[in-house]
Symmetry: C2
Subunit: 659 residues, 2 copies
């Protein structure tokens, strides 16, 4: 039965939850397909995540491998294919709890970096799982700075082989997924040496384990890197190479080749490599970041209308904690952020598709902008989402801290997204480099991409808002964000130039500006997120109820950003102190408005109980009962601990001396 405190929240929705779900999915038909995939996965006990919170790293790994293998059968059984409409929902339905994710990166890297011959040889083997692939780039000593990788591949002209080595401990490959215990092959990135000359980092296919008995191949040392904050199901591995020989044909050679006589030949454009990185960064936003964020919002908001604590008015019954302004102010901006990021993700997907079309016709003009976009948004979205999930966790108090709430694992998972596929600060600085370049160009009257033309249009001005309602106008707040971003970019560009003109070397000057450059890049991405949200809302005119609540969320997202980064807007007086009070008033008023629809707004994300895997967040709101029942399943309750006989009993019976 549904907890009445949750049921009542659903009776007053100002919009159709089902229609909003369809909107989020991109149409009712997609909702139908998604639900069918989820249903098929969840009704299969092999994919169950029921005991996940009680399992050791070893058990999690075994379960993930079992699921990975079973998924092949399942897909066959269900008629799902890699190109079918169902495919994109499988990962969501599994909550990512499956092995062989790097196997597909292995395949993709061969498809992108390999010659037709190499693709013809390796991809079918991998697709049929006659081997298990991995992707060995990161080393103990190098992550971000790929040029610094220390693994070497020396061409031996006499045998037509490359000899691979990790010559020192920091050169050891470290972190690659699926490599610690599963993979038989991996793509190793190594410094290529031919006749004593270094040609930089190149990819090599290396077999690391026997296809017969899975024993390590000669010269290979490999294993698991041990416990992490999350991803216990993945065997992130290490790999040492000692004079490991691979044939000349194993260097992926679509773009560069070592010919039999040792001649090094470059061919074609490597720009497509950028595009791969861009694709990964954008696609992880949807799969790895957005979904945990929306789940955390669902759990925390449902819990907050079921949890009653203390009284708002003396004499009344205890209040739902979501009725406290402070709780609303914790959770509702995160909910608005979830929607904002859903829409910016759609926008980025669109950009990516258009970019891909252009690249296919050999037009690489939009690549720099796309690269800057993907870097900055990867950083912005992962950082804000991580912070949002942490807020959701803490907003659930002690019960949020229990693994059974589901929130700790969502948090530790999303936290990783700030680190992998480019550390966020480095990524913001890449975006900043693009912005500074465009700012300089625009200031010199040269053409720049449309998304950054605003940079050159900065005028000292004032926000025209006269009362708090004016701040509910998207034009008003979008202009404020635009102004703030442009100011941060231009003032940092000025600082940079001043430093250089005063004799500071260019690289030192850049370093001395990086804190502010990162801030500027963040402001730029934040601005675009607000702008995109506002434009999305505008287009919802045919769905009045949904448009209205989305407008509230857009306003909340925008005003929350101004409220919590007030300094950026007040700095040059664009927004005055009195106007900031209006922002605050409008912002706090919106909380009370959106609070009424909070539960329908998370219901629309349409997560099943199994996918939430949370004692706090289930659709029926039977929180306490579920916490109690789930705790019974903990291994800590399976038997009396041996600690009693060994330590407690002698202590209590005063027989300690006999220990």
């Amino acid at each position: 039965s549904i907890n009445p405190d949750l049921a009542s929240e659903r009776q007053t929705a100002s919009f159709s939850v089902e229609k909003l779900t369809a909107l989020l999915d991109g149409g009712a038909e997609r909702t139908r397909i998604r639900r069918a995939v989820v249903e098929a996965i969840e009704c299969d006990p092999i994919f169950s995540r029921e005991n996940q919170y009680f399992q050791s790293q070893n058990e999690r790994y075994e379960a993930a491998v079992r699921k990975g293998v079973h998924l092949q059968k399942k897909m066959h059984e269900m008629g799902w294919t890699q190109d079918g409409p169902e495919f994109k929902y499988i990962y969501r339905a599994l909550s990512g709890d499956v092995a062989f994710l790097l196997h597909s990166i292995f395949i993709r890297s061969i498809s992108v970096l390999g010659s037709d011959k190499q693709i013809a040889k390796w991809v079918p083997l991998a697709t049929k799982y006659r081997l298990i692939g991995s992707y060995a780039q990161t080393e103990l000593g190098h992550g971000t700075y790929l040029q610094g990788l220390e693994t070497t591949a020396v061409f031996d002209i006499s045998t037509q082989e490359f000899i691979l080595n990790t010559p020192k401990i920091s050169a050891m490959k470290w972190w690659p997924g699926d490599m610690g215990r599963s993979a038989t092959h991996t793509v190793v990135f190594a410094q290529l040496y031919v006749q004593g000359k270094c040609y930089g980092v190149h990819p090599f296919i290396v077999q690391i384990r026997s296809l017969q008995d899975h024993s390590l191949c000669p010269g290979i040392t490999a294993g698991d890197i041990g416990p992490k904050m999350n991803f216990e199901h993945i065997d992130n591995g290490y790999l040492m190479l000692q004079n490991v020989r691979v044939p000349r044909e194993n260097m992926l050679n679509k773009f560069c080749e070592v010919q039999p006589d040792g001649t090094y030949v470059r061919q074609g454009s490597q720009k497509i490599n950028y595009f791969t990185m861009t694709t990964v960064r954008i696609s992880l936003i949807g799969d790895e970041v957005l979904i945990p964020l929306l789940k955390a919002c669902t759990i925390a908001i449902r819990y907050s209308v079921v949890r009653r604590q203390s009284k708002l008015k003396p004499g009344e019954e205890e209040a739902k904690i979501l009725d406290y302004q402070t709780q609303q102010e914790k959770l509702l901006p995160q909910l608005a952020t979830g929607y904002a990021f859903h829409f910016i993700n759609n926008y980025l997907q669109g950009l990516l598709e258009r970019g891909y079309t252009e690249i296919k016709s050999k037009n690489f003009d939009t690549l720099p902008e796309l690269h800057a976009f993907s870097s900055g948004f990867k950083a912005l979205v992962t950082q804000y989402s991580t912070s949002a999930v942490e807020i959701c966790l803490r907003a659930c108090g002690g019960h949020g801290y229990s693994l059974l709430s589901g929130l700790p694992s969502l948090y530790t998972k999303i936290l990783a997204s700030c680190i992998y596929e480019g550390e966020n600060t480095i990524l913001f600085l890449q975006t900043a480099r693009f912005l500074i370049k465009c700012f300089m160009a625009a200031s010199a009257g040269q053409p720049v991409p449309p998304s950054v033309t605003y940079l050159a249009a900065l005028k000292p001005g004032k926000c025209p808002a006269k009362n708090k309602l004016d701040f509910l106008s998207p034009d008003t707040y979008t202009a404020a964000y635009q102004h703030a971003a442009a100011r941060l970019v231009s003032s940092t560009a000025a600082k940079l130039q001043d430093l250089i003109q005063s004799g500071v070397k260019r690289h030192d000057a850049w370093n001395q500006c990086t804190v502010q450059l990162a801030q500027a890049a963040k402001a730029h991405c934040h601005y675009l997120t607000v702008k995109n949200f506002a434009e999305t809302v505008e287009k919802l005119e045919t769905q009045a109820g949904i448009q209205k609540i989305m407008k509230h969320l857009c306003d909340l997202f925008a005003l929350h950003g101004i409220f919590s980064n007030a300094g950026v807007f007040l700095h040059d007086g664009y927004i005055s102190g009195a106007q900031m009070d209006m922002v605050t008033a409008s912002y706090l008023n919106l909380l009370a408005v959106i609070r009424k629809d909070a539960v329908p707004l998370v219901d629309a994300f349409d997560f099943t109980d199994k996918s939430l895997n949370s004692a706090l967040g289930s659709y029926d709101g039977q929180v306490y009962q579920r916490l109690y029942e789930w705790a019974q399943k903990s291994p800590t309750n399976k038997q009396m601990s041996p600690a009693y006989e060994r330590y407690l009993k002698p202590l209590l019976h005063n027989k300690l001396s006999k220990l």
Copy 2:
């Protein structure tokens, strides 16, 4: 051997590390005693934490119990007593990884709430471990709001017993430490009913497990609440009571008693209860928050001078990541925060001691201020420290995410401190209530405690700073903090009054101001932290080298706070945009100055490698070697996973159909 990149950092210290350590300890003699305790604990293999990151919850619990029992022997052996100078260092030396912490709360609650007769009966039994105690206050449905507890204790006049029940699932005790598997007794907080009348929450001693064989007593259901983000070594438990009878004498009755005929008598002042809560909140700052924060700084800063990545200047070797401004801006403010909180902790300890002296002479006048202080600072320190540890973790990239870095467990531990002993938002609001009361009183010309007299002295003014060096004056920035805090308190008080005067009910009005009230309370505590740091630095005049670097840290802490909360200072023009640029310039300059002493500043915390338990943070800086060696010990590397034979082999050998 020491990594040369770390060794070189120690050769240029601008001050004596040993003298700073002594200053932090409160004198060289205390340093000596602390080191002796740490040495004695760390050389004893029973207390080893070597395998901690690989252990299951069951293993962690067993180890903690073993350590708890062994500690009794160790103390006896070493001649350490509860009152001796060594005692306070034991917990630090154990890194809190020991059982029976709630046992001492059990003892303390009887000492504070029990009559002399009850103390005489129970405390010796507990001290000799003839029983193991716990403290059962929190329920599934109630944490913060104690008046809402649902457990009942009904007085049965015919048998002179109390009958205890948890009448519904939400009434179940949930979270008490040591209760899931260890405790034989607990203090249960329950609503007292005598002859149908409810007298509110009272404490009762209840036996829950047999002293003979540890089986649960009749009417008792108890167990472990399952996995959590941390504290795997503690058996946080649940407890259901079904008609459990305890004699009348088991109600702790120093302040209230039920007489044999059912007459309820109140006696003495209960104000001391407030003092207990205050004591716990202040003492946890030192034990549970400061130490993890300082450890995280140590690990992240040492790693950041050993890790080299990318180049600052083309052609040079790769740079230490601490040489990047962005890395400095992540870590050095956290280091400054660590020092700021060390000194505010000293200050709070002093307050507490003076308060205790006054209370012993029956003077309760300072209690409200002390309570407001302890609430606000508990919230401020735990919140900022949690955020600081997260920054340290993320600043170490992928390796920070490995449990072997030690950072994840520091983070998950410190995160809990935001939730337990009063949820932080509630605590800030308690401080805010005190501030508003004082502000009203001061505005009406009534006397208020010295710490809040500044609230009434708010004048519209401007910061007098004329250049960036002016912002290195403690008077300048302390005045800015004071102004900002006073403005936030007075403007929120005004909003509150406006709302009430416009007809909003007092409780609704309060709720509508809570976001701003919490902000005001935070600003007040932040101001006092800056002020106390500045005053502490001033008193270091006899130690020139140390005073100089502490002054830099104080400046950094203060300017970081202004830089990152710029809106608060810009809002009414107290600091202008141009001045904020000076703040930023001074702030960023300080980073480069303090960076030179960063390693000596963390060395001064004097954590042993064993206490850090971090592959990244060891004194010798042999990071990569240690990561590799520690990973070898992981259970994931102990044997070939059964997943190979079961799933991988059939997959690779194309025998899936036989599965």
